[in-house]
C-alpha cells in the first residue's frame, strides 16, 4: 500500500494519460501470481531465442556488408569484424561503370513490367474464381497452380527458342512474360483469397445502384482489396527479383540482369571478392525497401490471404 499513495498524488498533480496508465498498472506489480510470473518468463525466453535467431540470420548478411567495405588485400589477409581500411572503392566501381549499374536498371525494368502485367490480368481472373462457378473452373485453377510448380529448368531451352523466334530475345518484356509463368498463378491465388473475404452483398448492392461491372470493379472493389493488391505486388516483385535462371537465359546484352553481370567478378587473376560483395549488398536493398512498405499487411499476405 505504501507504494500506492505517492502514485495517486502524482496523477492529481499532472493529469497526463501516461501517468494515469502508470498508476493503474503500478499497484499490481507486487502481486504477481505464479502463473503470470511464468508467462513473463516465457516472454523473456522468447525474446532471447528470437534475438539469437535474428543474430544468426543477419550474420551472413553482415559479413557480406563488412566485406564490401574492404579491399581485396585486406579480405585475403585475415578475418576481422570491422574493415581496417574502410573503402568505398568497390561501390565506386559499380556506380562508375554503365555495364555494372545498368544491370540493376534492367532488373528493375523487367520486375516492374512483370508486376504490372501480373496484376492487370490476375485481378479480373481472381474475381471470376472468387465469385462465379463456370465450366472447368476447378481444372483451370489447378492448371494455373501447376505452372507455379513447374521447374524453370524444364522450360529453359523451349523458352529460349520461343522468344528468339518471335524476336523478343534480349528484351525486358521477354523476361517479364517468362516470369508471368509463376507469378500470374500466384497472383491469382493470393487475390482470390483476399477477394473471397469481401462479402458478395457489396457486389449486389452496387449492381442494384446501377453500377456497371467495370465501374464497380475499379471504383468500389479495387479500393476494398487495396492491401491484397499491395501484398500481391510484393510477392510478384519478390519472385521476379530473386529469379535468375530464366532471366539469364533470355538475355545477352541489352536486358542482362544484375545477377548475370555479377559473374564478371571471376577472372583469371582470381575472384574480386570486394566487388562481388558490394554488388550483392546492392541487390539486397530494394527488397528491404519493398518489405518495409508492406510490413503491416505482409503477415496476412504470407498466408496468401487465407487465414
Amino acid at each position: 500500500m505504501s507504494n500506492d499513495i505517492p502514485m495517486t498524488r502524482r496523477t492529481e498533480q499532472h493529469e497526463s494519460i501516461t501517468d494515469a496508465t502508470y498508476t493503474q498498472s503500478a499497484p499490481q506489480a507486487p502481486v504477481f501470481s505464479h502463473a503470470e510470473r511464468k508467462a513473463k518468463h516465457a516472454v523473456w525466453r522468447g525474446r532471447i531465442g528470437l534475438t539469437v535467431y535474428l543474430i544468426l540470420l543477419l550474420m551472413p548478411i553482415y559479413w557480406l556488408i563488412n566485406m564490401s567495405f574492404k579491399t581485396n588485400t585486406e579480405i585475403l589477409s585475415g578475418l576481422s569484424f570491422f574493415p581496417q581500411n574502410f573503402t568505398l572503392e568497390n561501390y565506386a566501381k559499380i556506380f562508375g561503370d554503365a555495364t555494372w549499374y545498368m544491370g540493376y536498371v534492367n532488373s528493375m525494368i523487367y520486375v516492374s513490367m512483370n508486376m504490372v502485367i501480373s496484376l492487370l490480368v490476375a485481378l479480373p481472373a481472381a474475381y471470376a474464381f472468387s465469385r462465379y462457378r463456370f465450366v472447368g473452373d476447378k481444372h483451370m485453377f489447378f492448371w494455373l497452380l501447376s505452372n507455379r510448380m513447374a521447374p524453370p529448368a524444364v522450360f529453359l531451352l523451349p523458352f529460349f527458342q520461343l522468344y528468339s523466334s518471335v524476336g523478343l530475345f534480349d528484351t525486358h518484356i521477354a523476361v517479364a512474360l517468362a516470369h508471368c509463368l509463376f507469378n500470374v498463378p500466384l497472383a491469382v491465388w493470393i487475390l482470390e483469397g483476399f477477394m473471397s473475404g469481401v462479402p458478395r452483398e457489396i457486389d449486389e448492392t452496387a449492381y442494384i445502384d446501377g453500377y456497371s461491372f467495370p465501374k464497380f470493379f475499379v471504383k468500389i472493389f479495387i479500393p476494398l482489396i487495396r492491401s491484397g493488391i499491395g501484398v500481391t505486388a510484393f510477392f510478384c516483385f519478390m519472385f521476379s527479383w530473386v529469379e535468375l535462371l530464366l532471366a539469364r537465359t533470355l538475355t545477352s546484352v541489352d536486358a542482362k540482369p544484375i545477377g548475370a553481370i555479377m559473374t564478371r567478378t571471376v577472372s583469371a587473376s582470381g575472384m574480386d571478392w570486394g566487388l562481388l560483395a558490394a554488388a550483392g549488398v546492392l541487390t539486397i536493398i530494394p527488397g528491404i525497401l519493398v518489405v518495409y512498405f508492406v510490413r503491416n499487411h505482409v503477415a496476412k499476405g504470407f498466408a496468401l490471404g487465407r487465414v
Partner: protein
C-alpha cells in the same frame, strides 16, 4: 460462400489463360516434341518413339540425382517446419518490435538466389568466411569444395537460412488469426504452455502449414541457382540435384531428346505431388 453459375466469367479468366498458355503450353509442347525425336541439327531429325524415356528411366545418374533430391527435400522440411513454428511463436505480436522483427525475418527471402549462393560461398570458406573459420577453430578441416559431407552441410544450412523465414512468416500470420478469447479461456483453465500450443495454436496452424510444406517441397524440388553458385553440384556430383543435372544435360551436352524426356518425367513427379497436396487442402477446406 455460394457462387453463382455463370459461364461468361470465362471472359475474365481469358487474359490469364492466354498469357500463361503462351509461357506454358507452347514450351511444353516443344518439350514433348523433342522427347520423341533424335535431333542432329535443325533439319535432320528422326522419330524415335519412347526410346529416350526408356533411357531416362534406366539412367543411373538421374536415379542418384532423384534420390539426392528427395533426401535434400525431406531434410530441409524436417528442419525448417519445426524451426519456423518456433520462430513464429517467439515473434512479438504488437508494437514497433513486431514490425522490426517482421522486416528482419523477411530479408533472406528478398535476396536474389545467386546472391544467397554467393553469401554462403563467402561465409563458408575457411580463409575469408566467418562460418568456415569458426569450424576451422573447432578443429574441423572445413572445406565444402572438397568434402561431400561439408558440401551437404553447407547447402542444407544455406537452405534453412534462406527459407525458414517463409515458414516462420506463414505461421506468424496463422497465429495472428487466433482470437484472443481462445487464450483467455486457456488461462482460466490454467492450461500449460504445451497444452495451449497443442490444442489451440497447432490446429489453427494446419492450413498455413500445408501451404508452407507445399511451397517448400516444390521450391526445394526445383532448387538450382543456390547450389550451383555455392558448390557447382560438387564435389563430384554429391550436391547435383535434379534441376542441375537437367540443365547440364540440355545445355552442357546438348542432348535435347533425353533432356526433354527427363523434363517431362520430372514435371510429372512434381505434378503428382502437387495434386496430392492440392486435393488435401481442398478437402480440408470443405470439412470446415
Amino acid at each position: 460462400m455460394t457462387k453463382v453459375e455463370n459461364n461468361k466469367a470465362w471472359w475474365l479468366v481469358m487474359p490469364v489463360f492466354l498469357i500463361v498458355a503462351f509461357s506454358a503450353i507452347i514450351p511444353l509442347m516443344t518439350v514433348v516434341n523433342y522427347s520423341v525425336q533424335d535431333i542432329f541439327d535443325p533439319y535432320t531429325r528422326y522419330f524415335v518413339g519412347t526410346e529416350w524415356f526408356k533411357q531416362v528411366m534406366t539412367d543411373s545418374r538421374l536415379h542418384d540425382a532423384l534420390i539426392r533430391q528427395f533426401i535434400f527435400s525431406f531434410t530441409i522440411l524436417a528442419i525448417e517446419i519445426p524451426l519456423g513454428i518456433g520462430v513464429a511463436l517467439m515473434m512479438p505480436t504488437k508494437g514497433r518490435g513486431a514490425s522490426l522483427a517482421l522486416i528482419l525475418v523477411a530479408i533472406p527471402l528478398l535476396i536474389p538466389w545467386n546472391v544467397v549462393g554467393t553469401i554462403w560461398q563467402i561465409f563458408g570458406r575457411a580463409d575469408i568466411g566467418l562460418f568456415g573459420a569458426m569450424m576451422a577453430k573447432l578443429g574441423i578441416n572445413y572445406n565444402y569444395a572438397s568434402e561431400p559431407m561439408h558440401a551437404w552441410l553447407t547447402v542444407v544450412l544455406m537452405d534453412v537460412w534462406h527459407w525458414t523465414p517463409l515458414v516462420a512468416l506463414l505461421c506468424y500470420s496463422g497465429l495472428r488469426a487466433i482470437p484472443e478469447v481462445y487464450y483467455q479461456a486457456a488461462r482460466i483453465d490454467k492450461a500449460s504452455r504445451w497444452a495451449v500450443f497443442r490444442y489451440i495454436q497447432l490446429p489453427k496452424l494446419t492450413n498455413v502449414l500445408i501451404i508452407g510444406v507445399l511451397l517448400r517441397f516444390m521450391d526445394s524440388f526445383m532448387i538450382y541457382t543456390e547450389p550451383f553458385v555455392l558448390t557447382g553440384g560438387g564435389p563430384g556430383t554429391s550436391t547435383t540435384f535434379l534441376s542441375q543435372s537437367l540443365v547440364q544435360q540440355a545445355i552442357g551436352q546438348f542432348d535435347l531428346g533425353p533432356a526433354a524426356a527427363f523434363s517431362l518425367v520430372y514435371f510429372l513427379i512434381i505434378l503428382l505431388v502437387c495434386w496430392v497436396f492440392y486435393t488435401t487442402i481442398m478437402n480440408m477446406q470443405k470439412d470446415k
